[in-house]
């Protein structure tokens, strides 16, 4: 069951943005997110806005999806232009899901071409797609690389069969080294997604998954503690006692292990759950989210952000296509953030980054609280002396608590 959209204000049917969206836009990077809302099966832990063919009642909408998405690209260009935003080239593009690679590679290429034709793209731009290990071939990866993709992020999750089973993953562990090699051969940078703290996963299981992932020498690793999302099958299984509960202390142990092993392998953290081999290989698209840059989200349920205006599209692919078909904005709701809320978001997001948060951005009370955070070993003293709040390992594990302590009441 896909997650619930936030409550916000109604969005206008022409999609036009308020004045504040355009203020200072020329200085901000502009990215594109393309949501592909399809999966072969739904994993029990996942609450992303995605649908299986059976849930949609046939493949028709998948066939037409690329065209529908392209029509939102056109719509987006018109809205940005009419809302007074300057023409900006794409600095990052990210295809996420769902499972983008469930669509023919040609469809993904077509959407990317349309976007580039519309906005242009900066030299050296990052273009990523998420992929499930069992939904790519050497040919499809090559086609993507030829179309301009630079990076692929594989949902490896674990190298341990019983863990993959609890997660409902369909791929076999042995497929991962193959797809990594194919991507490399096609010239794509490779990232691996891992999940830890799955019910039944031992510390040794997790160490094995890390060792295995690192042995493929990825350019980038995301390691996420399993979140039990409301309304998922896994949440129900835990509630019924069919699957053991997850444990925060276990998560902490596994995070510490991950950070140690990944660092020892030469990668460095740049966000709480993300490590890259070099700073250049950090996911610039995700960094844009955390730094408050602008991006347009194409697709059902996709979120966008432009200059403190956040909005999100209707969730169902049919409703989404219907809106665009009749020339109406697919947005379901939006919020226009005032300076104070934007300040809160900035603290909340930038505190998660290795580049840290300028302490000057904090309120006087927040700045005072930093001393206590140093004393508790949650922020790095040397960085704090230089005016940046950067989390220690312990602080990363308590990042939300840190944020609550530095935000004004």
């Amino acid at each position: 069951m896909p997650s619930v959209l936030p409550l916000g204000d109604p969005a206008p049917s022409d999609g036009l943005l308020p004045q504040q969206a355009a203020d200072g836009a020329a200085a901000r990077a502009f990215g594109l997110y393309v949501h592909i809302p399809f999966c072969a099966v739904r994993c029990g832990y996942c609450d992303f806005n995605t649908y299986t063919a059976t849930e949609l009642g046939g493949g028709a909408s998948q066939d037409a999806y690329a065209s529908t998405a392209i029509s939102e690209v056109d719509f987006a260009a018109r809205v940005l232009d009419r809302s007074g935003l300057p023409a900006r080239k794409l600095s990052t593009v990210f295809f996420g899901g769902g499972t983008p690679t469930l669509l023919p590679a040609e469809d993904l290429a077509r959407i990317l071409r349309a976007a580039i034709d519309t906005w242009g793209i900066e030299p050296g731009a990052e273009v990523t797609t998420e992929a499930n290990p069992d939904s790519v071939t050497p040919e499809s990866l090559q086609l993507l690389a030829d179309a301009g993709f630079t990076r692929v992020s594989f949902g490896m999750q674990s190298a341990v069969p019983h863990v993959l089973k609890v997660l409902d993953r369909t791929h076999t562990p042995s497929r991962v080294p193959l797809v990594v090699q194919w991507a490399r051969d096609a010239g794509l940078a490779v990232s691996l997604d891992l999940i830890y703290g799955t019910p039944g996963e031992s510390l040794e299981d997790w160490r094995f998954s890390l060792e295995t992932a690192l042995s493929y020498q990825p350019d980038h690793i995301s390691a996420y503690a399993l979140i039990i999302e409301d309304g998922t099958k896994l949440a129900a299984q835990i509630r019924r006692g069919e699957v053991p509960e997850i444990d925060d202390d276990d998560h902490a142990d596994k995070y510490e292990l991950a950070d140690r092993m990944i660092s020892d392998a030469g990668l460095h953290w740049y966000e709480v759950s993300n490590w890259s081999a070099t700073p250049e290989q950090a996911c610039r698209h995700n960094l844009a989210y955390w730094r408050g840059d602008d991006w347009w989200g194409i697709g059902p349920g996709a979120h966008s952000h432009v200059g403190g205006v956040r909005w999100w599209n209707v969730k169902h692919p049919t409703a989404y296509a219907g809106r665009l078909g009749s020339g109406v904005s697919p947005a379901a709701g939006r919020e226009t953030l005032g300076p104070e809320t934007r300040g809160v978001e900035k603290v909340m997001l930038e505190a998660r980054l290795f580049s840290g948060l300028e302490t000057a951005a904090l309120s006087p009370a927040g700045r005072k609280a930093v001393a206590g955070l140093i004393a508790d070993g949650l922020v790095v003293p040397e960085d704090a002396f230089r005016g940046r709040l950067v989390l220690t390992l312990k602080g990363r594990l308590l990042a939300d608590a840190v944020v609550r302590r530095i935000l004004p009441d």
């Binding site: 995700n286 997001l349 308590l398 939300d400 935000l407």
Partner: protein, 617 residues
């Protein structure tokens, strides 16, 4: 059997010879209020169609709990042998916390109906109330109630009653307040056996105040029993203790609704309204006289009830403090036994230290504050009062454990009670064991009948007032009954146990206990807090200490993970809203040093099983 009186004697014009003043006294739940119902009905003052069970229990709280808290006086007509009599009946509460209500009522009467449940027999408060009635020289009419019950044993308990007060078992009346059987015969007997009041109609007026109640509409309503002379509406009266004078705006009798009259004469029971707004200006036990023609000597009054148990009352929401203060002031108008003074707690903020007659009184006051004034309250664990003598011979009265001096102490004295326990003899062993465990000293034991025993103990109040009764009931399968009254004090080995969170003392959790029980308290409280306080970003040691000596310790492990693993573009709004919610939640935390303690944890830790105690005793 007498028919109901058709022409009731008129107040202010009633010959004392045809007045009978009596109260109904009994152990709790033996059926006083139900018997009163039948009397109201048979004498015609309440029509059958208006009747409801326990008619005189008017407060919501009385009706919900099915117990009487306040005495109620009612004037009823009754005809016997062609004469119309005026009966003043006072229904009294049975719970030990409200014994002072009974003693006030007794002072307004010449006789008492001693009611005993025919299925239960004599119980501890039967004896206590009988004793009070005899102290007041009242004529006792023994009555067995609930004879309709299949489990009733009238012969057995009639014999028990007769041997207790002297007399023939045949003289014990058998009634059922439920069916009405025997009630008319009882009314006849009241007229026949009880003495008429005597007083001097020509002497200066003297009336005894036996109750004083604040009413939102009428101000203070004062209930009096006239001893000498006559009181009239519109005249000026004087309170003999304070010399304060007031105009009598209204005078009358309750029948059972207030009915104004032309006055009240010798032996009559009724009410006065003077327009004063504070019951303290119309003190129970004081004597009312006529300002123009004042009496020279006042009637002997009775002492104010002394609070036995103290507890801190704090508003959950600190901004409600003024509301709580006003609410206590209002309740006080109606409840002379309620005393309080402001106090502050580092943990709970501003509140009051409040004195109560017992746990039921505490519970009722708290419930009325919450209900009638819309307050959410935390009450700290109740405690008794200690007298601490320091080495310099200064004496400190401690009503709040956190005020217990930490310096050089010479001795600590605790209040004691004389407790009476009645039970079938098979439980004697279990009761003795319980009382000894509670530091009780046996004062005597008597057989009331072959199989019923009365045990008398001298015990610390602190050992009896909280959970003792529940334990007694469970050890005797519900058969034992208990009564106690204050009886001096003793020097004891008492200590203060403090609870420390991360080295900071939490005043609300301090307790004074006997040395032998300090460890158990420390272990219990630290264990409870470990369960209740959420993990923090650092380890939190919880300790129980006597002075600087740690007697128990627990610790709350530090929380290690508090971070949302993934935060994509689509998660940002959701995450921000969650953050706002968490920040809201943080505002409802009380800080003890650096430790965030949720309000719920305070409440749960302070809600001892004792204070959840059933109202019924």
């Amino acid at each position: 059997m007498s028919p109901m009186a058709r022409t009731a004697p008129v107040p202010a014009a009633t010959d004392p010879a045809i007045i009978r003043n009596f109260c109904i006294i009994a152990h709790i739940d033996h059926g006083k209020s139900t018997l009163a119902d039948r009397m109201l009905q048979f004498t015609g003052v309440v029509q059958s169609r208006d009747m409801k069970a326990q008619y005189l229990d008017r407060m919501d709280i009385e009706r919900e709990r099915g117990i009487t808290i306040k005495s109620q006086a009612v004037r009823m007509p009754w005809e016997l042998g062609g004469v119309n009599y005026a009966l003043n009946m006072i229904d009294t509460p049975g719970h030990v916390d409200f014994t002072y209500e009974v003693s006030r009522s007794l002072a307004a009467c010449e006789g008492a109906v001693l009611l005993v449940d025919a299925a239960q027999g004599i119980e501890a408060q039967t004896l206590a109330n009988l004793y009070l009635a005899m102290e007041n020289d009242l004529t006792i009419i023994p009555v067995l109630n609930k004879i309709d019950l299949p489990a009733a044993q009238p012969e057995k308990y009639a014999a028990e009653l007769a041997s207790l007060i002297g007399g023939d078992p045949e003289d014990v009346l058998l009634v059922s307040g439920k069916t009405g059987v025997g009630v008319e015969a009882l009314l006849d007997k009241i007229v026949r056996d009880l003495p008429a009041p005597v007083g001097d109609p020509d002497a200066p007026a003297r009336a005894m105040i036996f109750d004083s109640v604040y009413d939102t509409y009428r101000g203070v309503v004062t209930y009096v029993r006239v001893v000498d002379g006559m009181l009239h509406p519109r005249e000026r009266i004087q309170m003999m203790s304070t010399k304060a004078s007031h105009e009598l705006l209204e005078i009358g009798v309750s029948s059972p609704e207030p009915t104004p009259s032309k006055g009240l004469g010798v032996g009559e029971v009724g009410y006065l309204i003077t327009g004063v707004k504070d019951v303290r200006q119309s003190k129970v036990g004081d004597t009312v006289t006529n300002l123009a023609k004042p009496a020279s000597e006042s009637l002997s009054g009775y002492a104010d009830p002394k609070p036995m148990v103290f507890s801190g009352l704090y508003p959950l929401d600190g901004t409600d403090y003024p509301v709580l203060r006003d609410a206590l002031d209002k309740l006080k108008l109606n409840d002379a036994a309620l005393i309080y003074e402001p106090e502050t707690s580092a943990a709970l903020g501003f509140g009051f230290r409040v004195g109560f007659l017992g746990l039921l009184h505490l519970e009722i006051v708290r419930e009325r504050l919450e209900r009638e004034f819309n307050l959410d309250l935390i009450s700290t664990a109740p405690n008794v009062v200690y007298e601490v003598t320091l080495e310099d011979k200064n004496v400190i009265t401690v009503t709040n454990p956190s005020e217990f001096p930490s310096g050089k102490i010479n001795e600590v004295r605790e209040p004691m009670v004389a407790a009476t326990i009645l039970a079938p003899n098979e439980f004697v062993g279990a009761i003795m064991e319980l009382c000894q465990g509670r530091r009780g000293v046996m004062r005597g034991m008597d057989y009331l009948s072959e199989d019923r025993v009365e045990l008398r103990y001298w015990m610390p109040l602190a050992e009896i007032v909280f959970d003792f009764f529940d334990l007694l009931k469970s050890k005797t399968r519900g058969y034992a009954s208990l009564d106690w009254k204050a009886d001096g004090e003793q020097v004891a080995d008492l200590v203060k146990v403090d609870i420390l969170l991360q080295g900071e003392q939490v005043d609300a959790f301090s307790a004074i206990t006997h040395k032998d029980k300090a460890y158990a308290y420390g272990v219990m409280m630290t264990g409870k807090l470990r369960e209740l306080i959420p993990r923090q970003q650092f380890e939190v040691p919880i300790q129980a200490a006597i002075g600087s000596r740690i007697i128990a310790r627990e610790s709350i492990r530090a929380i290690r993970k508090d971070v949302l693993a993934k935060c994509y573009g689509g998660d940002i709004s959701r995450k921000r809203k969650l953050l706002e919610k968490q920040k809201e939640g943080k505002k409802r935390m009380k800080m003890v040093g650096r430790v965030e303690v949720p309000q719920e944890a305070f409440i749960a830790a302070l809600t001892t099983d004792e204070s959840k105690d059933k109202a019924k005793k």
